[in-house]
Amino acid sequence: EPEVTQTPSHQVTQMGQEVILRCVPISNHLYFYWYRQILGQKVEFLVSFYNNEISEKSEIFDDQFSVERPDGSNFTLKIRSTKLEDSAMYFCASKGTNYEQYFGPGTRLTVT
């Protein structure tokens, strides 16, 4: 069964460094999303992406964040200058022509 994959599974970075989190959505899906979950808290929406542009973003998704679909298979989330409070589990999701959103296993980002 097709699934969303994410790399790396765990990323440790120092405050102020840039990180890129990578996702491979399900092939032929057209809608892409990033969410995050701070430990012990709710899953929060960050951004949705369709037709090579952002379709919606939350207040969390400020200028430090950017998304890109650099080729036909990858979907990336970049955090330019990480802060301690960016430590969280980051989930990528994708959706095709059906209604279901499928989530990846997540990348645990630890900012020290």
Partner: protein, 111 residues
Amino acid sequence: SQQGEEDPQALSIQEGENATMNCSYKTSINNLQWYRQNSGRGLVHLILIRSNEREKHSGRLRVTLDTSKKSSSLLITASRAADTASYFCAPRITNAGKSTFGDGTTLTVKP
């Protein structure tokens, strides 16, 4: 708000019993998806129900939707220890819109 609120917050049952979790939301929705999350892991799609549907089944799962009451329920029949996880509902206002999550129901199934 669009966010789903699950109830109860925690549920503990014996293996073989049924587990029922409820979800309430406040806006009109296009669809609602139920997910399972094991501790520290990703969200696994369980079942999606559209706004024009009232009930759906998938294996041991049964989901209902009452749009007049803005509520949904997830029933897991004949529960197993492996069903121990957190369960979330995610209502969506549009087909391709964002999912908004509540705190979930933490289900513990004791062997």
